[in-house]
């Protein structure tokens, strides 16, 4: 995928994917993500908390954030959305996180960005709990905060429980695959 590929597709973009390549990619994404999310839910049901096979401060914090806003699985598909508060808390960017039905009427903005390497992290607060994000995403949130955007955002690394999809997705253990599938 290059810059030109991306924009050529955009240039001829129908409402839904038209090329076999695009459809294959889209289906692959939906299947693998659905599988990962399902794995996450079963893990939580069986083991309550403290189940991370590789415990670290980050994964415990992440677990706490998602305990507060669980996704219910059923006919109605829910997603988590976040909003950047106009104020900071203890100098940290503060995000409210909530769940909505994807088929509801709540307008939201999906964010597409490069994760970047993990050499530089920043801490933010999500639902009052510390949450570690990589620098590139932090810059985005800081920009949203500066411009006081009152918008619901969907951001993969925060709205999907990444730490556990990593450990529970068979054959998708390395970071690169995880990122592509999400």
């Amino acid at each position: 995928m290059s810059f030109h590929d991306a924009w050529e597709y955009l240039d001829h973009r129908p409402r839904f994917p038209a090329t076999p390549h695009a459809i294959a990619l889209a289906n692959m994404g939906e299947r693998s993500s659905a599988l990962s999310e399902f794995s996450v839910s079963t893990q939580i049901d069986r083991n309550d908390s403290s189940i991370s096979p590789n415990p670290s401060i980050t994964s415990r914090q992440v677990q706490g954030v998602y305990d507060d806003v669980p996704l219910r699985y059923g006919p109605v598909r829910n997603i988590r959305l976040l909003k950047v508060a106009p104020e900071t808390v203890s100098g940290l960017i503060y995000c409210d996180i909530s769940t909505i039905s994807i088929h509801g009427h709540q307008a939201y903005t999906a964010v597409s960005y490069v994760w970047g390497d993990d050499s530089e992290d920043r801490t933010i607060l999500v639902g009052g709990r510390p949450f570690v994000v990589r620098l590139n995403l932090w810059h985005f949130l800081a920009q949203v905060h500066r411009t006081r955007q009152d918008t619901f955002f969907w951001i993969d690394t925060i709205c999907i429980q990444q730490a556990n999809t990593r450990t529970k997705s068979p054959g998708r253990n390395d970071g690169r695959h995880l990122q592509i599938s999400s």
Binding site: F3, D5, Q143, W154, R176
Partner: protein
């Protein structure tokens, strides 16, 4: 799942990162907007500006992401953001058609390495 999320989104923001040294002083996305909306789109100066913008944009690490395509194909209205600049999809489409005779491969030898490292 991901397809649904992008398809149902009201808007997709493409975050291209920060811009420490603003391109041509005013920033890349602003420059693109001005060059695209300039009534003298075909003047030499403007063609040069458009070409430089295209090269600069193509250099961005964002395009090395493997998953860009799905978000573009499925996404709702797209907005590019770079630093404090932003560009709506309709202006970008105009920019794209102004420059569609220009084909620049990302002239970055590190592109492959970045793709592995960054995503």
């Amino acid at each position: 799942m991901m397809g649904d999320i992008y398809r149902s989104a009201h808007r997709v923001v493409v975050w291209l990162g920060t811009e420490n040294v603003p391109f041509r002083r005013r920033g890349l996305l602003d420059t693109i907007r001005c060059a695209t909306l300039d009534p003298n789109t075909n003047s030499n100066d403007n063609q040069l500006a458009l070409r430089e913008c295209m090269q600069q944009l193509a250099r961005n690490t964002y395009w090395t992401r493997a998953w860009v395509l799905q978000e573009f194909v499925l996404g709702a209205q797209i907005e590019l953001k770079l630093g404090c600049g932003s560009l709506q999809e309709d202006i970008f489409r105009q920019f794209w058609s102004c420059t569609n005779c220009v084909r620049i491969e990302p002239a970055n030898d590190l592109a492959g390495e970045d793709a592995t490292r960054m995503r």
